[in-house]
Amino acid sequence: MTTDIRVGVVTFPGSLDDGDACRAVRLAGASPVALWHGRHDLFEVDAVILPGGFSYGDYLRAGAIASFSPIMREVIDAARRGVPVLGICNGFQVLCESGLLPGALTRNAHLHFRNRDQRLRIEARTAWTGDLAEGAEIVVPVKNGEGRYVATAATLDAVEAEGRVLARYVGGNPNGSSRDIAGVTDPTGRIVGLMPHPEHAVEELTGPSTDGLRFFTSILASLVGAGAGRAT
């Protein structure tokens, strides 16, 4: 019996990495579903990805205007119902602006746009990282100008104490993120934000590794295990 797991990928005006996110979903064995920012319709997908890019040109604050898109009303409701959501880079910014994840992303501390292959250490077990061992180190590209993760000391302490740091930068911090935090998760492990780009590390030909593919195989395994998708 095969199942048809469908993962939605939202396109905002200015999204760049929606295509690569769809490709990563397909390579992992699931079906990508294109979701339009202006529509109140998730087409009953089993999970949602908010991709990287420059939605609304990063005007006002990166991810701020996109967080008020019609589709985000549906994404927020779905997230609260337990539908897994992964925000990559700009998508992470949208999740923080939407209040689904704590903290915020601001201008890189050194003010440069940083684009390089980055080593990360996975620290939390989530629906999107089940295929990665805790403590596993992976290499994925990071490319951002507003990637510095910040929050009050109390929030950072709580995130760390609750085991909600998804991943940390190792071998160098590309943007000055507090406590080298590269990604965070909500308490359920279903709503996850990550600054680096796993969708750009899914094939030997085009990425520094295939480590990123694990994010997409993980959610597939998580959803199949939970009985999602139609049996075909």
């Binding site: 006002l60 915020a104 601001t106 201008r107």
Partner: protein, 95 residues
């Protein structure tokens, strides 16, 4: 038409690299008397009379500022100086 000015600044505990860059430039320009610079944003909203202060506060708190990392102040100018915003543009024309 009243103008509402919303000033948005990063919270004091959030470091401001853009302000630091401006300070660096001031120093290089020979201005020794400036000790620190923080950079923020100013929004000017033309609003209908009477000013709905609750609505303005909501606009500021949910869109203009990110309350996780930013603080804001609101000032109402009842007799604002005219700007090019006040003259409607003819279709197809730049101001």
């Amino acid at each position: 038409m009243p103008r509402v000015v919303v000033d948005v600044m990063l919270k004091p505990e959030i470091s401001d690299p853009q302000g630091q860059a401006v300070l660096g430039a001031l120093t290089r320009l020979g201005h020794q008397g400036v000790q620190a610079v923080r950079q923020g944003k100013r929004f000017e909203l033309e609003v209908s009379d009477p000013v709905d202060e609750a609505a303005i506060a909501q606009i500021a708190d949910t869109l203009l500022a990110n309350p996780v990392i930013e603080d804001f102040t609101v000032h109402v100018q009842t007799m604002p100086t005219p700007t090019s915003m006040d003259r409607p543009l003819a279709p197809g024309r730049l101001a």
